[in-house]
Every structure is written in structure tokens, then in C-alpha cells.
Assembly symmetry: C2
Homo-oligomer: 344 residues x 2
DNA sequence: TCAAAAAGTTAAAGCGTTTAAACTTTTGTG
DNA sequence: CACAAAAGTTTAAACGCTTTAACTTTTTGA
């Protein structure tokens, strides 16, 4: 039933080690014999056993992925990219979802030496894993982690720059009254976006019209914008720390009979599915899932290869994507800072 | 460095078999000795090697998941649930994404006996995998497959019923002019939703106001609704075969100054993230990701256990979720079919 | 009390590869 | 053409666990 390397050896009249060499296309096998082996393999429908290989080589060819949720469009994109990149290098992805509720379920994936390395993709602090991975000497990389670890290779988005770019865009359109709806203060990413935002305004000699805090969700945007409208005051533009928040803001405007971007310019953050699905399509700061994934894989493979770049934190730059939700304020046409290309 | 079962045996002064028995909590071990072993394991930080186990037992404890995309909110939910359910049974998930472009990349996951079983979660026909899985005698289950396979265990949503329920809801609210925006005709799921929709109208003595076809995307909804509005005619209600389509319809209405549900009632299909994020929150037909996942895992584990339910196709029922995007038509208050509970 | 049954233990044989070391054949050089 | 070096091939020993068969100790009951 099961066909092993011995069967191939017998069939081809050679030894198992020759067969092994052919399989791993190692040198030291005569072309003629190589063909014999390949022939025998085909005839028998042979495929090497991953388990036996893992045991003999001490490597599994599997990368473990621990993540907090799959239901996040940015994570989706990252996971898909990671999967693709790993496949190119002959690795598979095995995943566990650690919801926080199932207390360290992620642990299971590396406990039995199932994996050659681990990617921790999580929005919240997960130092629990770090300790163990470090101690067990399992190569790992932290992605989009909120608590920057000095000891680990990690990939993070330059959120500060994202916030800065968003603000610059609005300023250059001619806006003077610019608000910010930030995420939860315990999210480092949110605080960094805010910091970049404030810096840009500062450089332009502006004060934030107002800074509000809430969740990364639609409700927050809706609530905040509604309260402004109810109070009868509105900024000229707003930078939301998340596309979902932007959606809430735009919805509140629509429901109040206001038009985006005519009455209010809105910039979001993420640029996943939602941004293009909205009308008006959202001007937003793109989190480059492909780059994040690529760098994460690079870092991990380097670590597996034994290159110990301790604490190498890679930053990838987000990118402003201008669509339809931003425009110059109605009164003033764009001021001297306006760049041609930024009108959608 | 590496601590094996022998180390534990030496440390505890017992044989490896005894240790093995403790690990697999098999009988025939004195309580006292069991404790000794557990103690030794803890002291040494021992964990059995998955590879050695797989090799010796002929099972891996890993389930392969082949999917077409991760960037689909329903799939997300299903994958997460599958992961959870499998974890309960001591299995891990290894995944490959077959985009169609990378020609059968899914194959890699089961070729080297890496997995004990495979779940194929894919919206398009994937009979290529079926042939091979069948031939290699690897247990598998098809989930949400568009081409029903008579030979394989599979889990599908009762789309016909979903379409029927959606239509019933609108009819019972008093609507008489009901349109449908369907998905691509090559999607079996879409055709079934349409069939259920038409049947419900038929039973009520109604004709569809109009049936349009397009993609499962926002553009389609926007385009179709805009064309109705431009032509100056609008149904009283519309059933969209997908929440994204519903979003497009609602957007088109908002942009034309029409209100949902006052001027148009809208029902979607899916009930993932989007449905609750929208204003008005979407009345929609929920695809029960949790049930789908649970049944899929049940079926697969049964197959792995050797129970060959050939061609057992499990259907799960979708469920209408009434929110804010549907209401009785303005003229007539709800007719006699209205059920109390269905007002949101 | 003693044989039989039950409980627990030990040694040994796989599981399907890889790899180090040894052996054999081919190649190249003076 | 001989002989060392290089290339090709094979034997044997891991890799870390499970499982079977055989052996030893403890318990049971007439």
C-alpha cells in the first residue's frame, strides 16, 4: 500500500541513498541512474513522507502563525501574502487563532516542535509567547505588534508617518480646521498616528480643531460626527485613525444631509476592502500588506537560517491613497501648498 | 540540548515504554510511577516530538485546508470556526491558498502525507482535487462547493431556502413590487437563491418586478440601482444576492436623496461584518459560519475515523436577520401576512 | 498456601528518511 | 600505463517515538 524509498530503490536496482540524492537533487549521481530513479518513482507514484523527513532532518518545513483574529481585513491580506511568500520557499503555514479567551492557544503550535519558526501577528501585547519562543530557541518574528520588543525581529508600519501624510494632504488642500478621531489609547499604532498628525499640523502652525478618542469601529465615527453635527459645529476636514471610523463619519454626514467631501473632507487609515467599497471612495492611508508580509517572511527565514539580527525592527511605510472623500474647502480654493496630483 | 523520551526515562528511573504510557495516558502504570514520570517531564521541560509521533503512528494530527481566498469575510468566519473546532480535537490547520492562478497550489499540502485529512473551501469548481484525494485515499470534505459532488461528503448552505425567506419577509411586510439582483449565473449558490426567491413570489401570486444579474460586488448594486433611479422607476423592495450588492444599492439611493428603508426596502445575503456596519443596518440572510464549520469538521473526523458516508451532503439552513433596511411600503400598512416579530 | 490471573516492566523491532563514513569506480596526470 | 584524486555508490547508524512480545511482579481466590 504505502510506497517507501526502499520500494523505489528496489524497483530501480539502486540503493536508498542514491534515491534520496535524486529526490533532493544532490550531486554524485550518474545521469543514467538519476533517470532510472525518476522513472521508478513515477511508476510507483512515490512521494517522500514529510514525517520521516522532519524526523531525520530536524526541520518540518512548516511555519506557525499565531493570530488574534482572522476577521480583520488587513490581517486577511497579510496572511494571504505570507502564505504566498512562504510557499515560494517551500514552507507551509499552520495556524492557531488566539482569541485571548482561549488563553494562549497559540502555544500548542510550537510546543511539539511542529514548526521551524513562528510568526506572531497580533494587535495586542503578546509577550507571553515571546518568553517561551525565546527560551525554546524557536525563531520567530513579531508583526504589527503593539508593544515593541527590543529583543525580537519585528515588522511594524510607520504609523507616525501615516498620520503625518494624512494631515499634510488635508493641509495642502487648504484646510485649516482639521479634526482627528483616534483609536483606543492602549493601541500604540493609534497613538503614533495621532502623533504624526499633530506634528504635521504643528509644522503648519495649526492647532487640531479637536481630537476625539474611541474604538477602531464604525460606531465611534458615527457617534463623534453626530455629536459635532448636533452641536452645530463641524471641522473642514477630519482624519480618522481607521477606515471603519471614517465610514461612520461619512454615514453620519449623509444622514444629516451633508455631503462628503463638499461639506467635510475625510481621510481614513487601512485601505482594505472597505475603502473602495464606499461612496465616495475613501481617501486613506494604505497599510502595505504585501510589504509587511514580505519583510516578515524575510526576517523569519533569516532567523531560521541562523542569522540572529537581534531586535531588528523593520518599519514599512504606509502610503496615502487619494480618492474621492477629500477636496479643498468650499470657501478658499487650495492654497499654495496644493500639489496638482492630489486632486482625485 | 534536545530532550527525548529517553532522558525522561532515565531521570525517572523507569523505562521509555512506561513514559510513553504516561504521555498517552494509557493504563498499566502505577499511580506512583506516573507521578514520577510527570515530575521528570516537568523538570526537563519535555514535549514529545510531533515528527517522531507522526512517523510511528502514521498520523499527523494536521488537517489541510485549501481555499480560494482569505479575503472574503464569510470564509474568514468559517476558517476561524474550523480552526477552533479542530483544536478541540487536537488537530491543527495547515493551509494553502489556491488562487486559481497558482495552478493547484493546494495539492502541495497533501502530497507528502502531511495531513490526516483535507477541507476544500472554495467557491468555484475544484474537481481536480477530488480526483486526487479520492485516489490517494485521503479523507476530505467539500465546503460551500458550487459543483455538488455526489461522491464526496460536503457541507453546503441551503441557498434556495435563504432566497425564499428573504422574499417571504418582504411580502409579509406588504410589498408587491419586489426586485432581485442576482450574482453571476455560474455560481450555483446565486441561482439557488434566485430560485427560492421566485418560488416565494410565485406562491404569493406575484411576479418579480425585475431580476438583474451581475457580480457579488458593490459596483453591481450601485450600477443597477442607479439605472432604475435614472429611468425614474423603483421597486418597493429589493433582494440582493450578497451584502456587498446591497451596500451598492443603498449607496445609490443615498446619493439620489432617497431613504432606505422609507423609499426602498433592501435585503442582503451573508451577514458578515458589512451588514452591521452599514446605516441603516442591513436586513439580511445569515450564512451560519459556525454551523458550516462544525458540520465540516464532524464529517471530516468521521471520514478519518473510517466511517465512509459516501456522498453525504449536509445542508445547513441560513437564517433571516431583520434589521433596519426593510420596512412596510409607505402606502399600505403591512398586510395580513405580517408577523409581529419581524419588525426591527 | 499456591496456582492462575492481572498488572506492570523490559527489550527489541519498526516507522521512512537523512547523513557520515567506507568502499568502488571513473577520471586525470605525469 | 600506473596511481592518486575525484566522482559515484553503498552500508550502517541515527532521528524520537510507538508497539509488540516476552518476562517479572503483584493480586486474587479456592
Amino acid at each position: 500500500m504505502k510506497v517507501s524509498i526502499f520500494d523505489v530503490a528496489r524497483q530501480s536496482g539502486l540503493s536508498v541513498v542514491t534515491v534520496s540524492r535524486v529526490i533532493n537533487n544532490a550531486p554524485s549521481v550518474r545521469a543514467k541512474n538519476r533517470d532510472k530513479v525518476l522513472q521508478a518513482m513515477k511508476e510507483l507514484g512515490y512521494h517522500p513522507s514529510a514525517a520521516a523527513r522532519s524526523l531525520a532532518r530536524g526541520r518540518t518545513g512548516i511555519i506557525g502563525l499565531i493570530l488574534a483574529t482572522l476577521q480583520d481585513s488587513l490581517f486577511d491580506a497579510i496572511v494571504k501574502e505570507i502564505s504566498d511568500r512562504l510557499a515560494e520557499h517551500g514552507y507551509f503555514l499552520a495556524l492557531t487563532v488566539d482569541t485571548g479567551a482561549n488563553g494562549g492557544a497559540g502555544r500548542l503550535i510550537y510546543e511539539e516542535d511542529r514548526v521551524d519558526g513562528v510568526i506572531v501577528l497580533s494587535p495586542m501585547q503578546e509577550d507571553g509567547y515571546e518568553q517561551e519562543l525565546l527560551q525554546k530557541r524557536i525563531p520567530y518574528v513579531l508583526v504589527d505588534n503593539q508593544q515593541p520588543s527590543p529583543t525580537a525581529p519585528s515588522v511594524v508600519v510607520n504609523n507616525d508617518k501615516g498620520g503625518y501624510e494624512a494631515a499634510r494632504h488635508l493641509i495642502s488642500l487648504g484646510h485649516r480646521h482639521i479634526a482627528h478621531v483616534a483609536g483606543p489609547p492602549e493601541f500604540l499604532s493609534s497613538m503614533e498616528r495621532e502623533r504624526g498628525f499633530v506634528r504635521a499640523l504643528d509644522e503648519a502652525g495649526l492647532e487640531p480643531w479637536r481630537i476625539e478618542r474611541g474604538g477602531f469601529d464604525t460606531e465611534t465615527g458615527y457617534r463623534v460626527a453626530s455629536s459635532w453635527i448636533a452641536a452645530g459645529e463641524l471641522p473642514g476636514a477630519v482624519f480618522a485613525a481607521d477606515d471603519h471610523v471614517a465610514l461612520g463619519i461619512i454615514d453620519a454626514c449623509k444622514n444629516a444631509g451633508l455631503r462628503v467631501p463638499r461639506d467635510l473632507s475625510v481621510v481614513g487609515f487601512d485601505d482594505q476592502f472597505l475603502a473602495t467599497a464606499l461612496r465616495p471612495a475613501l481617501t486613506t492611508v494604505r497599510q502595505p500588506a504585501d510589504q509587511i508580509a514580505r519583510r516578515a517572511v524575510e526576517l523569519l527565514l533569516a532567523a531560521i537560517g541562523g542569522e540572529t539580527h537581534e531586535g531588528s525592527a523593520v518599519q514599512v511605510d504606509p502610503e496615502l491613497v487619494v480618492r474621492e472623500s477629500t477636496a479643498p474647502p468650499p470657501a478658499a480654493e487650495a492654497n499654495d501648498l496644493t500639489k496638482e496630483g492630489e486632486r482625485s
